[in-house]
Amino acid sequence: MTREPLLSVRNLKTYFIQDEGLVKAVDGVSFDVAEGVTLGIVGESGCGKSVTARSILRIVDRPGRIVEGEIHFRRPSANGGPGRTVDLATLEPNGAEMRAIRGAEIALIFQEPMSSFSPVHTIGSQIVEAIRLHQPGGRREARDKTIELLRRVGVSSPEERVDQLSNQLSGGMRQRAMIAMALSCHPTLLIADEPTTALDVTTQTQILELMRQLQQEDGMAIMLITHDLGVIATMATDVAVMYLGRVVEQAPVDAIFHAPLHPYTRALLRSIPRIRSRARLVPIAGAVPHPYDRPTGCPFHPRCAEFKAGTCDRQEPRLTRIGDHHTVSCFLYE
């Protein structure tokens, strides 16, 4: 692939400056998302996955802000050419250009289907609003489009649902409506932040299946954030593993599952159950350190089985390219 990636995040740092101390939620994240593929981002709770997603959309809540780094995003051009690349990190968060990208070119769906729709507006009016914001056309047209979208994402009797409030829909239906809203303006990148965590297992499978089908039809790239390695295995083309605000390893999905390099990735894989395996599950030792109290050196060293005193706790490892598409950040490979 010679074409430059759709999204390229370089050394992104998003800090929360609070009275109690500085929380480095995202501390030097780098990864790429190619056009039309699915990048899975995996990591334990609190490792900065969601903040990374919000940083890309520039909707990090105060007191958090991007202190360093670049977010290169290639905007689509009208004639299907390569388009123009902008650094989102330098844009005004509420400026016209960022708002034109947000919702239209990069869309977001996230965890809480219960509360991600306004309780006092109908589902339809919220989707219509998104359509009319970014596309020409009247209210009538937008409404027809909304019903069509709802039908496409598998919402039953969309003509009625369009005028209902979100609390009249089930969790799965709400997440489908959310996907419909996200896709309403044909984004080139869809960020899905734990889209299935709050759903039951059957609904989970349906929603993932729906996302995959829509991706094939529309050809958008998906950035799928999850802590569920099972979801990664079924959905992702590439995987980035995050730990304490950093990407520790990025590789194609097969490489992650069959030839993981970073001790954290390996530990993570050992902690998930497999059918037909009689091996004991091995939990990762210790807990994620408190964000105010990050370990020096490699952030994983206090829990690492292959910890080398004098190196891992003193210096920070760099992201090193191992194979064509495999990068890892560990002294074992430097």
Binding site: G286, A287, H290, D293, P302
Partner: protein, 372 residues
């Protein structure tokens, strides 16, 4: 290991008792702590009103009607020795108003722990000592008026001390009565639900949609004129609390509803506790803190009610002294324009209301130590 060390200070949180957690949270709220100190100060005045007063609040003297507050000189020469100048009263020959001129030749020294009128300290120990006073006690030819005098020539400072006693205890008693009503009715409403709940809730809604002051006025005006101060005092307390319990009942009911389904309440019932035991041994202690906070927040309304009624002349009546009674003298703007110190009793009302509000806010935030 670094991880363990990092967690160590947090371990404190896990072993701390509920009340300890609340204290830690409350302490962070500086304004609430300061307000707590102010409230404490107010209740010290309630206890020691007669000690802090230096003149009998009921002794009037036409010769010194509407005297302005005196300036206190703290140093006599180079030595600490507070004194005030003597005053000469005279009638302005043109306007016929009484005017007072300071007489620098007369120094009235302020003595500490001086003799004055007789009273019982804390209602028990008979004594004649007061915080400050003048030489010669009751027979002294010159006396002090720190905050001036009212129309009848009574010392405003001393009256303010007594007024504080009455106004704050009426608030406290009123809120206690409200609390009893609120906890019982709110508790019944929240614990039983159903028809009981509906009836009590509707009653609350009805009471809340009636303007209270006209009702109070009507009830207060009907009190027999020949009742003693004490009778009126209790009657007013009851009238105020009759309409003040609704908010407390609402808080209690909300807590009850939230708690009825909690595991520890269900398990208490399952092991066979009686309903009364479940309520008083298991439920009430766990929302005690919320009740204390709500009670503190209800006090200002009580104080304002009493002050308003007395101000209108329908609450406590002279010779009783309360903040509202004192403010009655400030009803006429012409009088106030000439003797602005008559408005001074407004100050403790405002300070007390603010202090109770801030304290209540702090307590309410602290009452839920696990929240947020």
């Amino acid at each position: 290991m670094a991880v363990v060390v990092a967690v160590a200070p947090e371990q404190r949180v896990f072993v701390a008792s509920q009340w300890q957690l609340m204290w830690w949270r409350f302490r962070k709220h500086k304004l609430a702590v300061a307000s707590g100190v102010v409230v404490l100060g107010f209740y010290l005045v309630v206890l020691g009103a007669d000690f802090l007063a230096y003149a009998d609040p009921d002794v009037s003297e036409a010769q010194r009607s509407l005297m302005p507050p005196q300036r206190v000189y703290w140093f006599d020469g180079w030595q600490f020795g507070p004194y005030v100048h003597g005053f000469k009263g005279a009638r302005d020959p043109q306007t016929f108003k009484r005017v007072y001129v300071a007489d620098p030749s007369v120094k009235v020294p302020i003595r500490f722990f001086a003799e004055g009128f007789e009273y019982r300290f804390l209602g028990l120990i008979p004594t004649t000592r007061h915080l400050i006073g003048v030489d010669g006690g009751l027979d002294a030819s010159q006396t002090i008026f720190l905050l001036g005098t009212d129309v009848q020539g009574r010392d405003l400072w001393s009256r303010l001390m007594y007024g504080t006693r009455i106004s704050l205890t009426i608030g406290l008693l009123g809120v206690t009565a409200s609390l009893v009503l609120g906890v019982v009715l709110g508790g019944l409403s929240g614990f039983y639900g159903g028809v009981t709940d509906t009836i009590i809730q509707r009653t609350i809604e009805i009471l809340r949609s009636i303007p209270t002051i006209p009702l109070w006025m009507g009830l207060a005006a009907a009190l027999p004129r020949d009742w003693s101060i004490l009778q009126v005092y209790f009657a007013i307390t009851i009238i105020i609390s009759l309409l003040g319990w609704t908010e407390l009942a609402r808080v209690v009911r909300g807590r009850f509803l939230a708690m009825r389904e909690e595991d520890f309440v269900v398990s208490a019932r399952l092991v066979g506790c009686t309903e009364l035991r479940t309520i008083f041994v298991h439920m009430v202690p766990s929302f005690m803190s919320h009740i204390i906070a709500a009670t503190t927040l209800a006090l200002p309304a009580m104080i304002i009610s009493e002050t308003s009624l007395s101000f209108l002349g329908l609450g406590l009546r002279p010779p009783a002294i309360s903040w509202g009674v004192l403010l009655q003298q400030a009803q006429n703007v012409q009088t106030v324009a000439i003797s602005p110190w008559l408005m001074l009793p407004a100050l403790p009302v405002i300070v007390a209301v603010m202090a109770f509000n801030f304290l209540g806010d702090g307590l309410r935030d602290a009452a839920d130590p696990y929240g947020r």
